[in-house]
Amino acid sequence: MPGGILSFLIFFPIISGILIGIFSENKFLKINIKKASLLITGIQMILSILVYFSYDKTLGGFQFIDYFDSWIPFEAFTARYIVGIDGLSAPLILLTGILGFCAVIASMNIKLRQKEYFMWLLVLQGVVTGVFASLDLLLLFVFWEAELIPMYFLISIWGSGRAHYSAMKFLIFTLTSGALLLIGIVSLYFATGTFTMFDIAELGLNGIVNSNFSIAIPAVFLFLVFFIGFAIKLPLFPVHSWLPDAHTDAPTAGSIMLAGVLLKMGGYGLLRINVDIFNYIDPSILTDLAPYFAVIGAFSVIYGALLTIQQTDLKRLIAFSSVSHMGYVVLGFSSYGAFASVGSTEGLGGTALQLFTHGTITGLAFLLVGLTYERTHTRYIPHLGGLVNKMPLITTFFVIAGFASLGLPGLSGFIAELMIFVGTFKMGSLWAISTIVAVFGVVLAAAYTLWMIQRAYFGEGVKEDSPVAKIFDQLDDLNKLELLSVLILTASIVLVGIYPAIITDVLNIGVGEIFTR
């Protein structure tokens, strides 16, 4: 891979998005915006696949580093531009590349203010890539906050329902999470004098961070500040209430990016900062707090699943199921102490894998729901029914997505959840009880998934009085381009399910290095 590839992955979509926004439709030039966006994200996807597979597993560590020392030319302020990926972030770069392309395909029927729409979508993709690639905390923060702008506009302009309300709610919650992040980052800077992640880790190892902290604020406080910031993004009970609204009202591509990639920023932050950096500052913090995290994670799983059961809007249902599935992330996160006690890491590995698998599974589910909605113009489950008769392909793939989401072996969700369960269960009795509760979440997942499939897709047809009844005969199935995006996501779900080593071998390095840096 040539140098600068990560910077290219970050800025290529941002710059080309802005160029599309400015120059695509003027007197001299008319560009087909949709085809251009397809091309850009297509290149982006292929490059991210190449980057992922050329990550050298024998070497490990951070690779593809781009380094630019005087990003902010200011003496007292040593913020660097530094990007690179390790075993933790490489799969997420891959995920962003894949979902970015699928999100563009899901937007082929956008008619309103096209050039702005695709500009924001492309900018969003670049910025999120930036979050996963940043190795400097200030840079990470900049990307973290920058992600808000495109997402806000995507929801409020192209959204449905109470779009403005949901966009504002999303904005307020995420800003809060960003503010907490900033407090944490600045405090870390004052304790260490650097924003660079591995420098902080190294200084932490030497005890400098802790001794500096004891003067101002205890490290445990800082840990919680980061944790709450990421928990809002994840989201975790009780700070999840922005998610159902934002997902439901966002346009399809927005939901795909939101559930598929943006939520993963929270999980990634937990692993990168609360586990990776704090492991070197003070490992006892997480070990002490872990049982509480296990309990709240398991609670989030069950609470989310129970609320999912009574949803009647297809998108809202999948959105609530995301709350449930992200609970597993926190549960796996609580198994941190397993390395110190027995040397095992599968709980954290499962957490990292869950980020990837949930991204593809929920991405696929939102994509298919979006494609259904485009055709039926309603997502209200009692108005739907028997769609399989008109859309056999959409139904087939929706059943696959549903099975993956309920943790069917052979599909990718299973192995991530299994790793989390195995990793967490062995930690102690409180963890074991939490795990058992979380495993029951899988039973509930089966209940709501199968219920949704039964009502919306199977059956004779829609009811007489349903608004879909008039157009039922004209409903059509996937076209070739849509089939392509569905197939890409399905393939990644099935491949990881049958041969998880594709992702876990890389994650294994990333998680292992947390403890051996």
Binding site: I172, S241, N389, L393, P409, F425, K426, V442, Q454
Partner: protein
């Protein structure tokens, strides 16, 4: 080619059929009708031939227990090795699975001929056969769990095969959810083992660990009970039995293959696979035995009054699975598997017969049948043989295996033994009743539009498999469980083959199995009395209204689960309460937080509105606060 490579082919053949059918079906406009069915017949038939070859080679010789293991997954210290565990139990299971699946594929060629989903059906069937083979081949518990779940998923797809029917989809969902409750137990049991180390997930390693006391007795008890929960769900034992009768909504060949002969026996297989654990812990084994004993009577009583031919057979399956549980729980390992083996053939045949009858009269309601024996001679005769075999009349297959089970139970406990004997009467009754209602008396009209003149025997592709199944239904029991030495075939062939499993019984000493004439005579008399009562009551009008009402309503278990627990308690109360909490507290909290911020900022906005008076008041107030703050700090001893 060595045995090891052959074994893999058994598994890969149906898999390739699934992949090919699935790809053609989903991605091409190609009409797969001419391909999918025959492809399944060929691949599964070939698998069956290899199974027979390996089985005949395997009996009496010592063969590799494991083959072709490979590391499927590893993360840190957590490793999962997959591969094939080949012992007598697996050999018998794969023979049953491929043999019955093969015959049912042939039957389905004709049965599904006019169905729109013909190719989809065969794709699912190939996936099921693959998964079931994977399940019984597994050498690792995670591997077993993977196929265990896949089998459940294909069962979901096949029960809900006619997805336009709401009842079919509901039944499919119910089956999946109820078995999932069982799987919940199973996976926690697996987690308990994995806690000790992922190497113990390997089944042979686990056997050794149990023998060497790596696990404490309490943990083993817990693991055992959790595995039993898994087995109960899959094998539809009380109290997770409700899904199986409803599963009859699927196509009849599916009921024959999945819901009588193979899939539902997966629970029995699991208990048998875990036999070193189950038999080591008294509580666990007696739990298995009592659940089996109770279920066999409980299910049989519901079969007494059901008017749907497939449901009678479904209850009968639950009841017979109860016998297998009973045998395993009382330590009669060989007898349980022997019964599994013989039961698979005649029960599959009974279902295919029911399908053949349904094909003619377009209903499964026995009150609309009657008098079919003159119109459907082959169906009648083959079903008759299977029914006699199920009732357990000498010298049919069912006699030998049921006798072996009763013999095993009699050594253990009197109560359980009497439960087993009582089940024999009930079996005799409900099978006779079913045969009388279907084939004897006058024709009651069938589904509207069916005329007696137009009744005819089913097409030959349906009839041949039934004839082929009738042969083992009659003689296989005597062959594999003959009480005397037949020269070519040893006596009690299968039981001693199973007992020679060094893995399960490391310190096995050959012991003489004695045929017990007393039990044989008593059980035969009971069976005949069941038949006699059925014939007698069919002619008279004895009506125990109250008991009948309870039985017809399935002891109100469906009502309890679906209406009281799911509908009223769960949906109407619990979920509503949660929803109330979510909207009024959790979501409200963020609202009130933002609105209170807005309120505060509105109040402060006054200070910034540009009016000189307010500006100056603000200025002086602030100054006052700062100065007084400074002085109070000084007063409190600040420096």
């Amino acid at each position: 080619m060595t045995n090891n490579e052959l074994i893999w082919i058994i598994f890969l053949l149906p898999l390739s059929s699934f992949l090919l059918n699935g790809t053609l079906l989903t991605f091409t406009k190609f009409n797969t009708r001419s391909v999918s069915g025959p492809l399944n017949v060929l691949t599964i038939g070939f698998s069956f031939l290899i199974c027979l070859f390996v089985l005949i080679n395997g009996i009496g010789s010592s063969f590799d227990y494991q083959s072709g293991s490979f590391q499927w997954f590893s993360f840190g210290l957590f490793e999962i090795t997959m591969g094939i565990l080949l012992d007598p139990l697996t050999l018998i299971m794969i023979t049953v699975v491929t043999g019955i699946s093969f015959l049912i594929q042939i039957y389905s060629l004709a049965y599904m001929e006019h169905d729109d989903g013909y190719s989809r059906y065969f794709t699912y069937m190939a996936l099921f056969t693959t998964s079931m083979l994977g399940l019984v081949f597994s050498k690792n518990l995670i591997q077993m769990f993977i196929f265990w779940e896949l089998v459940g998923a294909t069962s979901y797809l096949l029960i809900g095969f006619w997805f336009k029917k709401q009842s079919a989809i509901k039944a499919a969902k119910k089956a999946f959810l109820m078995t999932r409750i069982g799987d919940f137990g199973l996976i926690i049991g697996i987690l308990l083992i994995a806690k000790k180390g992922s190497q113990y997930l390997d089944i042979t390693q686990f056997y050794l660990a149990v023998q060497n006391g790596i696990f404490t007795a309490e943990i083993l008890t817990l693991i055992g009970l959790l595995f039993v929960i898994g087995a109960i769900g899959k094998s539809a034992q009380f109290p997770l039995h409700n899904w199986l009768p409803d599963a009859m909504e699927g196509p009849t060949p599916v009921s024959a293959l999945l819901h009588s002969a193979t899939m539902v026996t997966a629970g029995v297989f699991l208990i048998a696979r875990m036999f070193p654990l189950i038999s080591a812990i008294e509580i666990v084994s007696s739990t298995v035995a009592y659940i089996g004993g109770f279920t066999l009577i409980f299910a049989a009583t519901m079969a007494l009054v059901s008017n749907d031919i497939k449901r009678v057979l479904a209850y009968s399956s639950i009841s017979q699975l109860g016998y297998m549980f009973l045998a395993l729980g009382t330590g009669a390992y060989g007898a349980a598997i022997l019964h599994l083996f013989t039961h698979a053939w005649f029960k599959a045949l009974l279902f295919l017969g029911a399908g053949s009858v349904g094909h003619a009269v377009h209903t499964f309601d026995m009150t609309k049948m009657g008098g079919l024996k003159d119109h459907m001679k082959t169906t009648y005769w083959t079903m008759m043989l299977a029914a006699i075999s199920l009732i357990g009349i000498f010298p049919f297959s069912g006699f030998w295996s049921k006798d072996e089970v009763l013999l095993g139970v009699s050594k253990d406990s009197n109560i359980l033994f009497f439960m087993g004997l009582f089940g024999v009467i009930l079996t005799g009754f409900y099978m006779t009743r079913m045969m009388i209602m279907t084939f004897f008396g006058d024709f009651k009209g069938g589904e509207s539009g069916v005329e007696e003149k137009s009744l005819h025997e089913s097409p030959k592709f349906m009839i041949y498999p039934m004839i082929l199944l009738a042969i083992p239904s009659v003689i296989i029991g005597f062959i594999v469980s003959a009480p005397v030495d037949l020269g070519v075939i040893d006596k009690h062939l299968m039981v001693s083959f199973l007992d020679h499993n060094k893995l399960v019984f490391p310190d096995y000493h050959h012991h003489e199995i004695k045929f017990n004439f007393l039990i044989a005579i008593v059980s035969s008399l009971l069976a005949f009395s069941g038949i006699a009562i059925a014939i007698f009551t069919s002619k008279s009008n004895i009506n125990f209204k109250f008991i009948r009402k309870i039985l017809v309503n399935k002891y109100y278990m469906d009502y309890l689960y679906e209406v009281i627990i799911t509908e009223n308690l769960f949906y109407k109360r619990f979920i509503k309460l949660l929803d109330f909490i979510e909207t009024n507290f959790v979501d409200k909290a963020s609202h009130s937080l933002t609105s209170s911020l807005r309120w505060v900022s509105n109040k402060f906005a006054i200070t910034q509105n540009g009016q000189l008076q307010i500006q100056s008041i603000t200025f002086f107030l602030s100054l006052l606060i700062i100065i007084s703050g400074y002085f109070s700090w000084l007063l409190l001893g600040g420096n």
